[in-house]
C-alpha cells in the first residue's frame, strides 16, 4: 500500500504535467497582458484593497487600521477623490489565516484589479503576501513597525524600521536623563520581530559597553498568560538596581505580564518596562493602573501636541461614532493607525503627482515625497520605500494615554538593514537595484 502511492502519483503526473504544460503554453500569451497596468484607471472609481484581519487573533489590532484607512478614503473622497476619481475600498477579511492572506492578496490584485493594497500587521502575513505582490507587481502599504531585513520594490513601509524605534529607546534609557540604566532584560513573544529586535538591541548594548551578563534574553509563546516564573526572574535580576525591561511582548500577553509585574512588587520607578508593541489602542479600556509610569517607544502618540494631530484625533473619534463602530468616540489613535491613515494620503498624493495610478509611476513619485501627517511633516526616503519620521518616547498615564518625555529633533532616516547586524547591506531602488553592498 505504502509503496504504491508515490508510484501512482508519478505514473499519473507525468503525462498530465506534459499535457497541462502544452495546454497552457498556447493560452498564456492571451492572458498575461491584462495584469499590471490597464484596468484600475478605466472606470469612474479607483479601487484600493484593504487587507486587515477582521476576525481571529489579530483582529484585536487590525480592525482599527481598517477603520483608519476607511476614514482616510472618506476624507479624500469628500475632497473630490484622486485624479478626479473616487476611491472605492475593497475590504476583505483574511481572518488571521496566513494562507488566506496570500489568497486574498491574489484576489485583490488579479480579480479586483486594485491600484494599491493597504494591509497586514504581522511579519508572517507580510511575508505570505510578499511573493504575490512581487509576482504581480502590486503595491502594498504596510503600516506597522517591523524587523527590517527586507527590501522589496513592491512594499511601501510606513511603519518604523528598527533604527526608528529600538535604538533611540535604548539610547534614552542609558542616558542620564532617562535614568542611566545598566542592566537590560529583553523579553519578547517568540516570533521574528522580537527575535530580530532583540538581536539588534543586544548588538547595540554590547557596542555601548554593557557587559554580556547584564543582558538577558527571553521569549514566551503567543498568548502566554502565566508570567509568575518570568517576573520572579526579572525581580532577581533587578534586585541590585539600575535594571530595566525592554519588552516586545505582543498582544494579549501584555496584561497578565504587567499585572504580575505589579503583583510581585516591581514598579516603573525600580525597573521600568520599555515596550515596543504597546500603544494607545491596546491600552484602551485596559486596566492601566498597573502600567502607569512604564514607557513605550513609537513614532507617533495621540498626545502629540500639533494642531493637525488634534484635528486627526477629533476626526477619528467622530468617524467611529458616526459609523457606529464598537467603542464610538472613546476610540483612540496610535502609531499604526496614524501610519495606516498616512499611507492612504501618501498614495493619493503620489498618484496626483504622477498623474496616473500605474504602480511604477506612483512608486517613483513616492520617492522623496513629503507629507504633512498628524505627526508633523514626514518624508519618504529617496530610495528605500520607507518613511522618515520622528521617534518619540512616552510614559503611560492613568488614562491610557502617553506623556511625551522625549522626541528626536529631526526626522530619523529609515534603515531597513540595521548597520549593527548587517553592516554592509543597503537598500536603494533609485540609485541601485534594491539590495546592494555598501563598500567600506
Amino acid at each position: 500500500m505504502k509503496l504504491s502511492f508515490p508510484s501512482t502519483i508519478k505514473a499519473l503526473s507525468f503525462p498530465l504535467l506534459g499535457l497541462a504544460l502544452a495546454f497552457s503554453a498556447c493560452n498564456s500569451s492571451s492572458h498575461k497582458s491584462g495584469t499590471t497596468d490597464s484596468t484600475a484607471t478605466t472606470q469612474e472609481t479607483v479601487k484600493i484593497g484593504v487587507l486587515h484581519s477582521l476576525s481571529g487573533t489579530m483582529a484585536i489590532s487590525e480592525v482599527s487600521l481598517k477603520d483608519a484607512v476607511q476614514m482616510a478614503v472618506d476624507e479624500i473622497n469628500a475632497k473630490g477623490g484622486v485624479l478626479g476619481k473616487k476611491i472605492e475600498p475593497v475590504i476583505v477579511d483574511p481572518a488571521s489565516d496566513w494562507d488566506l492572506f496570500a489568497e486574498k492578496a491574489k484576489e485583490l490584485l488579479l480579480e479586483k484589479k486594485v491600484a494599491a493594497v493597504f494591509g497586514c500587521w504581522t511579519s508572517v502575513s507580510r511575508k505570505s503576501v510578499l511573493p504575490v505582490f512581487e509576482e504581480n507587481n502590486g503595491l502594498l502599504f504596510y503600516p506597522v513597525q517591523y524587523e527590517g531585513e527586507e527590501c522589496s520594490n513592491n512594499v511601501i513601509a510606513t511603519g518604523a524600521t528598527p533604527n526608528q524605534q529600538l535604538i533611540p529607546a535604548a539610547e534614552y534609557l542609558m542616558s542620564e536623563k532617562g535614568g542611566g540604566y545598566k542592566k537590560f532584560y529583553l523579553l519578547g513573544t517568540d516570533y521574528v520581530f522580537p527575535r530580530t529586535a532583540n538581536k539588534i538591541l543586544k548588538a547595540y548594548l554590547l557596542s555601548k559597553g554593557v557587559p554580556k551578563e547584564n543582558i538577558i534574553e527571553e521569549y514566551t509563546p503567543f498568548h502566554h498568560q502565566d508570567y509568575q516564573t518570568i517576573v520572579s526572574k526579572v525581580k532577581r535580576f533587578a534586585a541590585d538596581g539600575k535594571a530595566c525591561v525592554l519588552s516586545t511582548i505582543n498582544g494579549d500577553s501584555n496584561v497578565p505580564f504587567y499585572k504580575e509585574f505589579a503583583n510581585q512588587g516591581l514598579s516603573a520607578a525600580t525597573c521600568p518596562i520599555m515596550a515596543f508593541s504597546v500603544a494607545e489602542d491596546e491600552l484602551r479600556s485596559m486596566d492601566t493602573e498597573f502600567l502607569v509610569g512604564h514607557l513605550a517607544a513609537w513614532n507617533y502618540f495621540q498626545s502629540v501636541d500639533l494642531p493637525e494631530n488634534k484635528e486627526f484625533v477629533a476626526n477619528f473619534k467622530a468617524f467611529c461614532e458616526k459609523k457606529g463602530l464598537p467603542g464610538g468616540n472613546k476610540r483612540v489613535t496610535d502609531d499604526p493607525i496614524c501610519w495606516a491613515y498616512t499611507g492612504v494620503y501618501l498614495w493619493a498624493k503620489a498618484a496626483e503627482k504622477a498623474g496616473s495610478f500605474d504602480v511604477a509611476k506612483v512608486r517613483s513619485a513616492l520617492a522623496g515625497l513629503a507629507f504633512d501627517s498628524p505627526d508633523g511633516v514626514v518624508k519618504m526616503d529617496a530610495g528605500n520605500h520607507h518613511l522618515a519620521k520622528p521617534v518619540i518616547i512616552g510614559e503611560i498615564k492613568p488614562d491610557g494615554q502617553f506623556d511625551i518625555i522625549s522626541k528626536t529633533d529631526s526626522l530619523v532616516t529609515p534603515q531597513p538593514f540595521s548597520p549593527l547586524t548587517s553592516p554592509n547591506k543597503g537598500c536603494d531602488w533609485t540609485s541601485h537595484q534594491g539590495v546592494y553592498t555598501i563598500s567600506k
Partner: protein
C-alpha cells in the same frame, strides 16, 4: 495617619536640616517661579538647585513634582488633598497649597478651592527633570503614606549609600509600621552600618542582623561584602558562608512558591474543567463551546463593572464580587438556551455534538467581537491586588489565593450538590444509565437541561475569575479549552474526583517542568507525559468499573 506623617516630616526636617539662611528661603521663591513658569531647561535648573539646597519648605513641592500631582491655581502651586488617582477627575477634592506647605486654598469667591475650580492647570514636568529629584527621593518618600512608596525610598537610599543619610533613616524606621517596609529599611540601615564598620566584631554583628532580617537582596549584599570586605579573611569567609546559607533557604522558599503556582494553575484548570466534566459525563456532549461560556462569564464581569461605573459612579470592589453570581446565571442561562436549541437534539451523539458546538463557538466569538469590539479589561478589585507576604521571599498574590479559595468553594458546592441533594442523585443516575433512569421515572431531559445550566454557569464563574489574571478578548476561551479537555480526559470523563486530581496534577507538573525547561517545552513534556500515562490508565484516573464500562 496622613497628617501625622506630614507633620512628622516637618518636625524631622527642622531637626536635621542645616540651619536655614534667610537668603535661601528667598531663592526658593525664585526657583519656584523657574519651575512653574520657566522653560524645560530653566525648570531643570530650578529643581536641581532646590535639590542641592534642600530647603524644608520646598519638600512638599518636590514631592508633588515627583508624584506628578503639581497644579497651578492663580499662579500658586497647589496639589489635591487626596491620594486617589481617580479622585482628581471627580472635581470635588480640596486643594492644598504647597508654598506655604499644605494649607487649604480658597478660590476667587472665597470658597475652598477644589479640583473642579476654574483656572486650575496641571504643571507638567518632564521625566528628565523629574529624574533630577533622584538624590532627594528617599527623603521625600520616606514619609509617604503608602508602604510601597516607603519601600521604594529605602531601596533608593541604598543605591546612594551615603552615610549622612543615616539619621534620616533612623528616624523613619522609628515610626515604620509596615512589616515589609521595615524589613527593607532595616536592611539598608544594617548595610550602611556594615559598610562603615571599623571592627570585625561590629561588622559580624551587622552581618548577623542582615541574615536575621533577610531582605530581598541580602544574599547579593553579603556576597559583595565577602568579596570586597577589608576587615580580614575570617570575616569574609563567614560572610560568604552566611550568603550561601541564605541562598539555600531562598531556593527552598522558591520551591514553595512553585508549589503555590502549581496549585493556582491547577485550580484554574479545575474551575474550567469542572463544568465540562459534568456535562460530558451526563450528556455525552463534548462541548467545544465551553470555552466561550468562560468568555461570556468574563464579559459579564466587564458589563457589571461598566454598569457600576456608569450608573452608580462607583468603582468599588463590589462590582467584581457581585459579578461572580451574575456571570454564573448569565452563562448558565445562555447554556440552557444552547441546550434547548441545539444540544437537545444531539444527546448521546458525542461527535455530532462536537461539531455543532464548534459552530456555536464560532458564532459566539464573532458575536462578542461585534458587540464589545476587541480588547477589554476588568479592573482588579483593590482587595485582591498585591500579595500576602508570609516570609521575606514568599509572596502569595491575593488574586491567586482568591482563585484557589473560589475553586475550593465551587468544588465543595458541586460535591454537595451531586452527593447530598435529590437533583445530584438524579444527575448521577442519568450519568450512569440514561435509559434505566428514564424507566425509573426521572425526567432525563429536565435533568440534562439543569446539568447544562450548571456546567455552563461554572464556566461563567471561571471566566469571571480569569479576569483577575488575564484580559478579556473574544477568543479567550480557546486558550484554555485544550488544557481543560486534557484535565477531563486524564481524570476520567465525568468523574469529579478525577477532574480535581488531574487538574492539580497537571498544574503542578506544568510548573515543575517550567522550572527546568522553558515554558513551551514544559508544555510539550506534559502532553507527552499524559500520553504515556494513558498507556496505563486508558480510561483516565478513575475509570468506570464493571461491564458497562466496555461499550
Amino acid at each position: 495617619m496622613k497628617t501625622v506623617r506630614i507633620t512628622g516630616l516637618f518636625i524631622f526636617c527642622l531637626l536635621f536640616q542645616r540651619p536655614l539662611l534667610r537668603a535661601q528661603t528667598d531663592s526658593t521663591g525664585i526657583y519656584l517661579r523657574y519651575i512653574l513658569d520657566g522653560s524645560d531647561s530653566l525648570c531643570g535648573v530650578g529643581i536641581s538647585r532646590l535639590v542641592a539646597l534642600r530647603p524644608t519648605e520646598a519638600f512638599p513641592l518636590l514631592r508633588a513634582i515627583n508624584d506628578m500631582r503639581l497644579y497651578r491655581l492663580n499662579g500658586q502651586p497647589v496639589t489635591p488633598q487626596s491620594d486617589e488617582p481617580t479622585a482628581i477627575d471627580s472635581g470635588k477634592v480640596l486643594l492644598l497649597s504647597l508654598l506655604p506647605p499644605y494649607q487649604l486654598v480658597n478660590d476667587d469667591h472665597g470658597h475652598p478651592a477644589t479640583t473642579g475650580s476654574s483656572g486650575l492647570t496641571e504643571v507638567k514636568i518632564s521625566r528628565g527633570n523629574r529624574l533630577l529629584l533622584t538624590p532627594v527621593l528617599p527623603l521625600l518618600n520616606l514619609f509617604s503614606t503608602t508602604p510601597q512608596k516607603r519601600i521604594l525610598a529605602y531601596s533608593q537610599l541604598q543605591q546612594n549609600q551615603q552615610i549622612d543619610q543615616l539619621p534620616y533613616l533612623q528616624a523613619a524606621l522609628a515610626q515604620e509600621t509596615d512589616a515589609e517596609a521595615l524589613r527593607t529599611g532595616k536592611d539598608i540601615y544594617y548595610s550602611l552600618q556594615l559598610q562603615h564598620a571599623q571592627h570585625a566584631a561590629t561588622a559580624r554583628a551587622y552581618i548577623d542582623s542582615i541574615v536575621m532580617n533577610w531582605s530581598d537582596n541580602a544574599a547579593t549584599m553579603l556576597r559583595t561584602y565577602a568579596h570586597n570586605g577589608t576587615l580580614g579573611k575570617d570575616l569574609n569567609a563567614y560572610t560568604a558562608q552566611q550568603a550561601v546559607a541564605l541562598e539555600t533557604r531562598y531556593d527552598r522558599l522558591q520551591k514553595i512558591q512553585n508549589f503555590f503556582s502549581g496549585l493556582s494553575l491547577g485550580s484554574i484548570l479545575i474551575l474550567i474543567a469542572l463544568g465540562l466534566s459534568i456535562v460530558y459525563g451526563l450528556a455525552g456532549i463534548i462541548n467545544m463551546a465551553h470555552g466561550e461560556f468562560l468568555m461570556i462569564g468574563a464579559y459579564t464581569t466587564y458589563v457589571v463593572q461598566c454598569i457600576f461605573g456608569n450608573i452608580f459612579h462607583s468603582h468599588s470592589d463590589w462590582a467584581f464580587f457581585i459579578s461572580l453570581p451574575v456571570s454564573f446565571v448569565v452563562a448558565g442561562l445562555l447554556g440552557l438556551l444552547l441546550e434547548r436549541l441545539v444540544i437537545r437534539h444531539l444527546y448521546s451523539k458525542p461527535l455530532e455534538s462536537l461539531l455543532a458546538t464548534w459552530g456555536v463557538s464560532l458564532i459566539l466569538i464573532q458575536a462578542a467581537r461585534s458587540i464589545f469590539g476587541d480588547l477589554t479589561a476588568v479592573k482588579t478589585p483593590t482587595v485582591l491586588s498585591g500579595g500576602w507576604q508570609i516570609l521575606p521571599h514568599l509572596v502569595l498574590p491575593y488574586n491567586r489565593i482568591f482563585i484557589i479559595t473560589l475553586t475550593t468553594g465551587v468544588v465543595a458546592l458541586t460535591y454537595g450538590m451531586l452527593y447530598r441533594t435529590r437533583l445530584g442523585m438524579q444527575i448521577r443516575a442519568v450519568t450512569q444509565n440514561r435509559q434505566m433512569s428514564a424507566c425509573l421515572g426521572i425526567e432525563t431531559r429536565r435533568v440534562a437541561a439543569v446539568t447544562f445550566f450548571i456546567g455552563s454557569g461554572l464556566a461563567g464563574i471561571a471566566g469571571c475569575a480569569m479576569t483577575l489574571i488575564g484580559n478579556v478578548v473574544p477568543d479567550m476561551g480557546q486558550t484554555y479549552i485544550v488544557d481543560s479537555f486534557l484535565v477531563v480526559v486524564t481524570g476520567g470523563v465525568g468523574k469529579l474526583a478525577g477532574t480535581i486530581v488531574a487538574g492539580l496534577g497537571i498544574g503542578f507538573l506544568t510548573k515543575l517542568f517550567e522550572s527546568f525547561f522553558q515554558a513551551v517545552y514544559g508544555k510539550v513534556f506534559i502532553l507527552l507525559f499524559i500520553m504515556l500515562f494513558m498507556q496505563y490508565k486508558p480510561k483516565g484516573l478513575f475509570p468506570d468499573k464493571g461491564r458497562l464500562a466496555e461499550d
